[in-house]
């Protein structure tokens, strides 16, 4: 299980991040100022640091200099939408830059991507008798390979990575098709039905009225 450090001075946001990470299945620790964050990242090992830019004592751009970027990925959380700040953050070695406010699932998706890039995330996901290898782009049900279209594969992967979380159609569209895709949410429904049929997930991949879908946790 990936270990994530939350560096955020606002108590409520820190709490929210903690809850979000716990439903994403991550271990998290909290700290509310830069000095303590530096202490923690130098003494302990984390897979990822969610780093707020505006901190009371030293800002996130300062803290990141103490982080070993080979070992620990950094995602900046910030209220600033300035492109220059984003560039600055990424130049300092951050993996991603999330502008507040953000949706829970978006944060989880970005964390997933960053951790995968850092090879901290499992390439193979097991779910019941389904085995998905993301790098090889293959899905097995039992011992048989299942033929999925690329979009179906992406949707299934997203569900498997976000088990027990309700995913809205809009979120699925944004994640799988991209933000610029202006398609109808009906497209999502058709793909989800296909996945249900192909993977035999009629009972597990449930429809949540007026919201979207949820893949119930295995077991």
């Amino acid at each position: 299980m990936a270990k994530i450090l939350i560096v955020e001075d606002d108590v409520n946001i820190a709490k929210m991040l903690e809850v979000t990470l716990s439903i994403g299945g991550y271990d998290s620790a909290r700290c509310d100022n830069g000095k303590k964050a530096v202490e923690l990242v130098t003494s302990q090992s984390y897979d990822l640091v969610l780093l707020d830019v505006m901190l009371p004592d030293m800002d996130g751009f300062e803290v990141i200099k103490y982080i070993n970027k080979e070992e620990t990925a950094v995602i900046f959380l910030t209220a600033l939408q300035d492109v220059m700040d984003k560039v600055k953050g990424l130049k300092l070695g951050a993996e991603d830059y999330i502008v507040k406010p953000f949706e829970t699932v978006e944060l989880l998706a970005r964390i997933e991507v960053v951790l995968r890039r850092k090879h901290k995330s499992n390439n193979t996901i097991h779910y019941g008798d389904i085995t998905m290898n993301i790098d090889e782009h293959t899905v097995k049900k039992g011992d048989d390979y299942v033929n999925l279209t690329p979009k179906e594969f992406d949707i299934l992967a997203f569900f498997l990575q976000n088990q027990d979380i309700a995913l809205t159609r809009e979120r699925l569209l944004a994640t799988v098709w991209g933000y610029e895709f202006m398609g109808e949410t009906r497209t999502v429904d058709i793909h989800v039905q296909q996945i249900r049929k192909k993977m035999g997930l009629h009972n597990k991949l449930v429809t949540i009225p007026k919201l979207g879908y949820r893949l119930e946790r295995d077991g």
Binding site: D9, D10, V11, N12, I13, K15, M16, L17, V19, T20, I23, M54, P56, A79, L80, Q81, K100, P101, F102, E103, T104, V105, D164, I165, A166, L167, T168, L211, R214, E216, R217
Partner: protein, 487 residues
């Protein structure tokens, strides 16, 4: 064309023109004098000749004892009178009657002489003084040589004759031409020398201008701290000084603009932060409530509680922000009211808050009338006392006092609470500045209170002065620098 080129060419042209005109005028004047002198010589010689001729004719007539001498005899007399001298004379002689040449020692063709004679006889001078020793002279250019010809009419034996003498003046004209050539050459040499001197002088004189030019270009390109050297002639140093003053003014303004822009950027960044922080919690927890599969009662209450709390924070922020924006743009409603009545109303409004926190408010205000916008001023006092309450502990006292010394009215709010660290003092009036964010937020603040207060004070022509010592307390004073000038 560049300025130095213009100055150079104009001065050069003027100098050369002056030299040439002067020397040509001088030369022609002296030439004219020479010609006049030569003419006088020729004329007097001519007169001598004509007198001698007359005398010889009379002498010959008397000698031969005739009444009249014939034309041939006159010619003979003339020949005999002139011939002995002709070898030593520098002048030639011709004798005419009418337009017929009787004899000539000029060595010139008859036609030429006749045409000269015709010209001369037409000239009024010769006609007017006919028979009275009048004479005409003319300078003719015969190929390489120039001759001065003098003509007069003489009456010999009652017959009119024309006597024409000519003298060689070639030398004068040759000299004149030589001198003209000499002047031409000399003026060319002079021009070259003057040109080079002028070039150096102009270049040196315009050197400061080039320096100023270069400096100005640098300033124009954005190097506003650049200053020009204030040397060179008075005009240039004056120009430099003016340029420097201009650069200074520009630099000053640019710095002001930069600091305003920076303040605004900071304000916007802070505003974004202050707005987005509660929004992040609201969106996050709202989203969690929506997408989480199971939310137990305790969690639901907690999440909803946070959402409500953060929404309230946003509400406070937007309220204060609106206040801050409108304060700057509203027309003030000036009223003259006793300060005590304002204090009473504020005290009334804060009564509950005071009794809840167990703090006593001690108002010691002198009897004075102030000219203020009542609502805004109340809000100012309210905010200051509210800050003092937040900084104080139960059982402590807050003092409010007002006094007027030398026409300067000071209203002060003093508490004995936690105080403000020295290094924070100059920043606390900035919008969104909070010394302890979590504490401020727990107390429901947005970090805009003091910014609002100082804005209200500014509108009233007053300023805020804050004195504080950590753990001893803070005293915020509203100082009206000159009472009466507030309107």
């Amino acid at each position: 064309m560049k300025l130095w080129q213009k100055i150079f060419l104009c001065s050069l042209a003027l100098v050369i023109l002056a030299i040439d005109v002067t020397s040509v005028l001088l030369l022609s004047n002296s030439h004219r004098l020479t010609v006049t002198r030569e003419t006088q010589n020729a004329v007097s010689e001519h007169k001598y000749l004509s007198v001698m001729l007359k005398d010889n004719v009379i002498y010959e007539r008397l000698k031969q004892n005739k009444v009249f001498l014939t034309e041939e005899e006159v010619i003979q007399v003339t020949q005999s009178a002139f011939e002995p001298q002709s070898s030593t004379r520098t002048i030639g002689l011709s004798l005419y009657t009418g337009q017929r040449r009787l004899l000539s020692y000029n060595g010139r063709s008859e036609e030429l002489e006749v045409s000269i004679l015709q010209n001369a006889s037409q000239s009024s001078v010769l006609n007017q003084v006919q028979g009275m020793g009048g004479y005409a002279y003319e300078i003719i250019d015969d190929g390489d040589a120039s001759y001065l010809i003098v003509i007069s009419q003489i009456i010999l034996e009652s017959q009119p004759y024309y006597l024409m003498t000519s003298s060689d003046v070639t030398e004068i004209y040759t000299l004149y031409k030589q001198q003209l050539n000499y002047i031409l050459v000399m003026s060319m040499i002079c021009a070259t020398v003057i040109a080079s001197i002028l070039l150096i002088v102009v270049w040196l004189l315009l050197l400061p201008l080039r320096r100023i030019n270069e400096g100005t270009r640098q300033i124009a390109q954005g190097n506003y701290s650049k200053r020009l050297p204030e040397k060179g002639s008075t005009e240039f140093s004056q120009l430099s000084r003016n340029m420097n003053e201009m650069a200074e003014a520009i630099e000053h303004n640019i710095k002001n603009l930069e600091s305003v822009a920076e303040d605004r950027n900071t304000f916007i960044a802070n505003l974004a932060h202050e707005m987005k922080t509660p929004l992040t919690s609201i969106l996050g927890f709202g989203d969690l409530l929506r997408i989480k599969r199971t939310v137990d009662d305790k969690e639901r209450r907690e999440y909803a509680g946070i959402i409500v709390e953060e929404t309230k924070r946003l509400k406070t922020l937007s309220g204060k922000l609106m206040e801050l924006i409108t304060v700057g743009s509203t027309q003030l409603d000036w009223q003259t009211i006793p300060l005590t009545s304002i204090m009473e109303e504020v005290g009334q409004a804060l009564k509950i808050s005071l009794s809840n926190s167990g703090i006593t408010l001690n108002i010691k205000v002198c009897q004075i009338e102030v000219s203020v916008d009542k609502e805004l001023f109340k809000s100012l006092i309210y905010n200051l006392i509210d800050n003092a309450i937040k900084a104080s502990k139960s059982g402590q006292e807050i003092e409010v006092f007002a006094q007027e010394t030398n026409g300067i009215l000071t209203i002060a709010v003093k508490d004995h609470g936690i105080g403000i660290p020295k290094e924070e003092l100059n920043k606390i009036m900035l919008p969104f500045y909070m010394i302890d964010k979590s504490r401020t937020r727990k107390a429901g603040g947005a970090g805009l209170g003091l910014a609002l207060c100082s804005e209200i004070a500014r509108l009233h022509g007053a300023r805020l002065q804050i004195e504080s010592e950590p753990r001893k307390g803070t005293c915020v004073s509203i100082i009206f620098d000159k009472k009466g000038e507030t309107e």
